[in-house]
Subunit: 342 residues, 2 copies
């Protein structure tokens, strides 16, 4: 991480010193997200992925679709602290919005999936999520739905098998279309000085000055993005809580989950977490990996205390919240897919 912290620190100094000159720690959402070379976007594949995204056949009990917890008609999440999967079991971490995940380098709160495709594969067979028994069960479920055979042939070519790989590739292709460009902040970054309020501008400055932007920078306000120095699969992690044993840590049980340590069993990864995306954060309460904090203002206050050891003032919190409201983007108005009928 150190090369990054150094780079970011100098960048932020640059920003303070020279305004928008030089390296830009914040950037509008690029028109195209990075697309893996082995899963190019095609209209037929995206259309198939959209069908699968809304199809409850992908869950063990035929009761849950991807959209159940990642509701694209809402802000891409379900507004719950933690979600309940097809088998009735609750997960332990809050379902994040799927909007703009195409710009991430790693997936899950602990970054254990090195691609969107890998993350989807785990979601489908997780007992607390879609609950399918295994990859074969997923393939058999979709194979049993006659119409999908033709749709898969259209999307991948007649010679390519309907497989766990192609199912997840199609889902990933659809999910990569879930973008929210043209936030007020994006327009501000493009030079429209009136796109955000004076309070939001104060909040933007505070966001940098108090230290939020040390981790929450660049395209998704979540650190490096693929193609911009970080490669897909390379995660940007931070310790949370950074200042341990606070009242807030106890109150919100922030240290109960030891994060990335569960993945690597490396002591240096204890309570390390992927820096989460802040785009649309004002729309995606509740907050943190365990969904324990209900309001944006409280989340900002707690972050100040646990990450920066700072007691933010009421005004600072209000200003930063006003800024974070400006990173809510323009949501797409997709058409419903038509699902195959048995």
């Amino acid at each position: 991480m150190s090369r990054w912290l150094t780079l970011v620190a100098s960048s932020l100094m640059l920003l303070s010193a020279a305004g928008h000159a030089g390296f830009e720690p914040f950037q509008p959402l690029p028109a195209q997200p990075p697309i893996p070379s082995d899963n190019p976007q095609t209209p037929a594949k995206i259309a198939l992925g959209k069908q699968l995204y809304f199809d409850k056949r992908l869950s063990a009990t035929y009761t849950v679709s991807c959209n159940a917890c990642h509701n694209v008609m809402s802000a891409g999440d379900d507004g719950k602290a933690v979600s309940r999967g097809a088998l009735g079991m609750q997960g332990t971490r809050s379902a994040p919005t799927l909007y703009n995940v195409a710009y991430q380098t790693v997936y899950f709160w602990d970054g254990r999936a090195v691609s969107l495709e890998a993350a989807i594969k785990e979601h489908l067979i997780s007992p607390t999520e879609m609950g399918m028994k295994d990859a074969s069960a997923v393939v058999e479920r979709i194979w049993a739905t006659g119409d999908y055979k033709q749709v898969f042939a259209n999307a991948f070519g007649a010679g390519v098998a309907l497989s766990y790989d192609t199912i997840t590739q199609a889902l990933a292709a659809y999910i990569r279309t879930l973008r929210t460009p043209d936030s007020d902040f994006d327009r501000y970054l493009r030079g429209d000085e009136k796109a955000i309020s004076r309070q939001a501008k104060r909040g933007y400055e505070a966001f940098i000055e108090v230290g939020c932007a040390s981790c929450h920078f660049w395209v998704n306000l979540s650190g490096p993005v693929p193609g911009l120095a970080f490669e897909m699969g390379e995660g940007f992690y931070e310790l949370f809580p950074n200042y341990p044993n606070t009242k807030d840590e106890a109150r919100y049980r922030l240290a109960d989950d030891i994060g990335r340590y569960n993945v690597t069993k490396d002591e240096t990864d204890r309570r390390m977490w992927r820096v989460p995306v802040l785009r649309n954060v004002a729309l995606t309460a509740p907050y943190f990996h365990n969904g324990s904090v209900k309001t944006l203002e409280e989340a900002i206050r707690v972050m100040g205390a646990t990450q920066l050891n700072k007691r933010l003032t009421r005004d600072q919190i209000a200003d930063i919240a006003a800024f974070l409201h400006t990173v809510s983007g323009r949501f797409p108005t997709h058409r419903f897919p038509k699902l195959p009928v048995d």
Copy 2:
């Protein structure tokens, strides 16, 4: 019913005798369904109703929307024999498609709701469906979601209260837009002789000759429609099974549920049922009030046996199935609503 059976019988004779001359027992789906004078369709109200239709806030546990069992991305139903509601309890009757229900005169399998609005009110507080405690709980739930207050004001006018009535009116307005016009059969009825196959034409003739059309006629192939002699709230009911104590009745437990008797406690209503809509029937398996029959062909065979005391031949069944495939219509491709965020 007798005036209807007489009318229908003579109509069918007319049809046989004179082709398409005179009274038409079958009609293409009218461009506009009947709209109650106290709930006119407006774009703002329909848009609100669409939001509510997909909003899980309308269920006790925040887990189920109207769309869960009446999936407009599928054929308007959920493909299940019976469905499980927000509280985890299963109903006893199969969720029908909501497409084209605007043309019905009564609602529920037993016709106990005399308007779509009345049916929705019951759905919301039914323990096996949305599971809300009572009408007040529904209103409070929506009232607690800030954005809806403004959306309701836009839809109904600032002076009209957000109430159980306006919630159900908005839902009904959206559901009335769920129509599937331009089926192959509709185009055939309009004069396009090539719109349906020769087998489907044989099936159409058999459908009339063996007696299916005695009940399954007119716009929705479900008997009289509002404005066409029947008024809203006046149901068209038939005995099912009509010929009791068959093997099929036992096998599929067709007589366990005593239908409309539960509503009226009138002995003449024992095992009387609303004649169900056949539009899109090929897409809405499984069949009958209890969802006990899995295939269209078997449903046709059983209907022949239990309703007409006829053993249909394999060819007749195949022909009638081919005809019934032609009443699958053109499904709308709606855009997703954007749901309010808490």
